[in-house]
Symmetry: C2
Subunit: 578 residues, 2 copies
């Protein structure tokens, strides 16, 4: 609020000036009173001036009894998962009624650190969607891989006082909190000192451990997976997020824990939502509709998706439709299944019937474009010399991000190098460090991908986002890796030394300014080619599966740029077995 | 929170250190889940570490199933109304379970401006009770009287960023908001810029006017008087305070407006509570008990008195009993009528069975003691020369702060001076400017006080707190005024030129460091003397009535240091009638 705006709104309310817009005959979803209110609404300078009375407006829309719903707030997401830059992401989610997101730019910050944060903040400035950030707390996520940078307390300090930064992102290192690791505590201390929020990430943490985590000031959890855990967390004052992402889907599982007493500590989030999931299922409205479909009162579901999130993050200017708040809302025909018809941001029509009308202008990706600092790479670096036929193998588990620690007897040539056997579903996996020209290339074996002949590579490889490539032969893999480097990042498929297709992600190798429809078309096409040409197993997603094979916090075997890692013992292991 | 505290709490939770105190076998009133939870609670360094688990403590108390209730929060009060300095006030309310108050030091700031604010802040530093302030928005309350100072936007700016200052106090000038008066808007602008709250005061404001008031960012109202107004205010996002003061009592009247949908926007306050009301009826627990007695669910009543207020004012460290929050709570036997047994602040026992144990140490009242800057006063200044026998008279209305605009035919001596007629209940009223040595003395006539012979004077005279005196003769009035000046403020009674008794209020003429029991004894005694010796009408409070006779915002006739004021026309009027 500022004085000029306040005066304008007061003038409209007192009938001394006309509102810019009035939406007449709405059924307002009032999240303060938990009821539906038949009224008109007056908007001036992008804010709600007031309700039915003796006001006048330059322009009137007759909503003919449609519901007017406050814009949804996504309480926790990683924009990077959409493959879309923040401005393209804005265009993709506004049609679904999401008008504010709390984003943790964990992925891009792993790649570009401070430059990433600057880029994300400047993109948010251009986006019509309101984007707030939680500063990533865990970069790098582990000491077992090389990310683009190390973001310690002093780095957080640089951004924490920005209005757009609401606090510190998901503190995944809960053992670090329980043991008050100094590196962790120094970061929390920044939040304490600047009176900012700290987001949690505490799967399965309970009892004394949960007390400790909450006592440390961590106030949200989006990794809560059971109704019992939801009940325990909310009882201790935590906000629990009902997550509906592409892979992790918790809304229906958690809903039985939500009740009259605790629902004010519950909100919705998407966490990681792939572009196709956004296009096909929507965004926060998807989770809300699932909850309503499962019997949650629609006004309560909307309250959770709006006011609760706004209160959690101290966003006093939104989360409800009320005088002095942002005119961020949408009209919808029904509350049984919410499909936004007209979506307004700051009183402007930005989307209608599922299509974006007002697009956000991308920013120049300064310091984050084409970040491919790969040194000393050549096809020869992919060669895998074994000391034994009996080796460790990463076993893909379809439909998840975990793997199994497998073993196999494999073929070697006369010099001891691994030889691909087309009859066995074992391929080579490589991780190539791409951030600081360290020259690291690590190679391992992986089973269950299904591909017969060729290679796939991507620069999306959680959480450090080095280049990860899978292939039947070193040449195709090298071609794929080189193609990615020349693209500046993305996803590519190669067969017989030729690039079949590529999806370019020019922003840090993670995101693109292309629009969601183009991105989805490209990915659909590439999925089809992966199945038809490369024969990747229909049980797995050829690209997402790859993205998680370098993540050394999810069991059991993973490959980082340093080597093969056994998450169960939190240490590197030799590929060779006795 | 800070790092050392977090580490300590984590250690206690993880069993690596002992808690300072454990309270075993409590029925915890859980305001997050709206239920009663049987558990144990562990406290370290004044904060809640956690709940029943594998924790250990140096000391255990067995609560034997008593209820453990979060400390109550008074959402709006004027400490000055208690006649007690903030530290003495702390001692008076802690036994009733109030552990935090949001105070508007409107009265003392009218007297001493910046020095008052410094004194109040430094007193809060010494008080065991948590005291937060809303910076008074309306000093002086009107331009029709002389207060000690003018607090404009630049004065507010000096204090607004202090952590202890949560925002700007009750914006009484709602016509000023509706007309966006620049003096008012400049003050609101300070709150906008510093992202602080603005408290409201909007009796009977509705519809478009209410929209305007809320659009201006004013987010609370403690002057709401009907269930319908409560419903309208909460629907628009305002917090409504259920007030139970000495004179203004709204809890039972407003309660019918509170429902499942809106109760999270409702809290309790006392506003103005005289010392005897605190002693006899308690504090926030009084309003809470009235609500419970009227059928409100006790857990809901407690939620309103704790979490709702904490959320409204952004006090994340209290309002509930949960890990990482202040150990401010009390034990009570019953939730049907809440009578705190043991009260804890920061984990320390501060009161037990209605008596204070841990007293707060007063601060030196620098710049606020004995503020009696009266110039050119003498008995002769009280003489009232009339040009007519027919004059305007202030008619006291028993039981309230309003007066009626009366008239009377009175006696005059040969020089035209008013003569007291013992058969008529008409007395002289005088207001003597005491802040800046302006030398103002204004005199008028008043009816309905009942006193036969003598004078009463006080330095409590809302809102400017000049000296106000009532009397049958100029000499007794002059003696009373001189006595007050020499006391440095308070209340005094005189008859036949002799002081009968005085209640000294050495802090700004409004408050004392004496304890509540001594103050009440003194006031009881003086009330008795006022009735028995001075024969003040039993229908009115001899002192409180006087306190409101100079308040030129409450109809109809009032007397300020400038003259007789008719609130109906917002202008001064001549005492003489045709």
């Amino acid at each position: 609020m500022n004085k000029e705006l306040a005066k304008k709104l007061i003038d409209v309310d007192m009938g001394r000036q006309e509102a810019d817009l009035a939406i007449m005959n709405v059924k307002l979803v009032n999240v303060f009173s938990s009821e539906i209110e038949e009224t008109d609404i007056y908007i001036a300078d992008g804010y709600v001036a007031g309700f039915r009375g003796n006001k006048k407006a330059k322009k009137e829309i007759d909503a003919k009894g449609m519901y007017l719903v406050p814009g949804f707030i996504d309480g926790h997401c990683h924009i990077e998962s959409s493959h879309l830059s923040p401005t393209a992401f804005s265009d993709s989610v506004l049609p679904f009624g999401t008008t504010t997101v709390i984003a943790d730019p964990h992925e891009i910050c792993n790649v570009c650190g401070e430059a990433a944060m600057k880029y994300m903040i400047s993109s948010a400035g251009n986006a019509i969607l309101s984007i707030y950030y939680m500063y990533p707390s865990c970069v790098p996520a582990t000491p077992f891989e090389h990310a683009g940078c190390v973001l310690d307390a002093s780095e957080i300090e640089k951004f924490i006082d920005e209005d757009i930064v609401k606090g510190i992102g998901e503190m995944m290192n809960y053992p670090g909190v329980a043991n008050h690791d100094e590196f962790v505590m120094d970061k929390l201390e920044v939040a304490y000192r600047h009176k900012k929020k700290i987001d949690g990430h505490a799967p399965d943490v309970k009892g004394d451990g949960l007390d400790a985590y909450i006592a440390a000031g961590i106030s949200t959890d989006h990794e809560c997976a059971t109704p019992e855990d939801l009940v325990e967390r909310t009882k201790r004052g935590m906000y629990v997020l009902l997550r509906q992402g592409t892979a992790c889907k918790n809304v229906l599982g958690l809903l039985p824990g939500v009740n009259d007493g605790n629902y004010r500590r519950v909100m919705f989030c998407t966490d990681d939502r792939q572009p196709q999931t956004i296009r096909n299922d929507g965004h926060i409205n998807h989770g809300v509709n699932l909850a309503i479909g499962a019997g949650l009162d629609p006004v309560r579901a909307i309250t959770m998706a709006t006011l609760n999130a706004a209160e959690c993050f101290g966003l006093d200017d939104r989360g409800a439709i009320a005088p002095g708040r942002r005119a961020d809302f949408f009209l919808a025909d029904s509350l049984e299944k919410i499909e936004p018809d007209k979506v307004f941001v700051l009183g402007k029509l930005v989307a209608e019937k599922g299509s974006i009308i007002l697009r956000s202008r991308p920013v120049r990706p300064e310091g984050v474009a084409g970040r491919m600092n790969v040194k000393n790479f050549s096809e020869e670096r992919l060669a895998l010399k074994l000391e034994s036929d009996h080796v460790r193998v990463i076993d893909i588990v379809p439909g998840g991000v975990v793997t199994k620690a497998g073993d196999a007897y494999v073929g070697r040539d006369k010099d001891g190098f691994w030889v691909h056997d087309p009859k066995e579903d074992i391929l080579k996996l490589a991780v190539v460090e791409r951030h600081n020209g360290l020259g690291n290339v690590a190679v391992a074996l992986i089973r269950g991908y299904g591909m017969r002949d060729g290679a796939v590579a991507t620069s999306i490889a959680h959480d450090s986002h080095n280049i990860i490539a899978i292939g039947s032969n070193d040449h195709d893999m090298a071609v794929a890796i080189e193609e990615l480097i020349s693209l500046g990042g993305g996803i590519t498929m190669v067969q017989n030394g030729k690039v079949i297709d590529s999806h370019r992600l020019e922003v840090a190798g993670l995101m693109t300014d292309d629009n969601v429809d183009d991105v989805c078309r490209k990915l659909d096409d590439m999925h089809e080619k992966a199945a038809k040409i490369l024969k990747v197993s229909p049980e797995i997603d050829p690209f997402m599966t790859l993205c998680f094979m370098a993540l050394p916090v999810i069991p059991e075997y993973k490959l980082t740029d340093i080597g093969l890692f056994d998450v169960r013992i939190f240490d590197f292991v030799d590929i060779n077995l006795a």
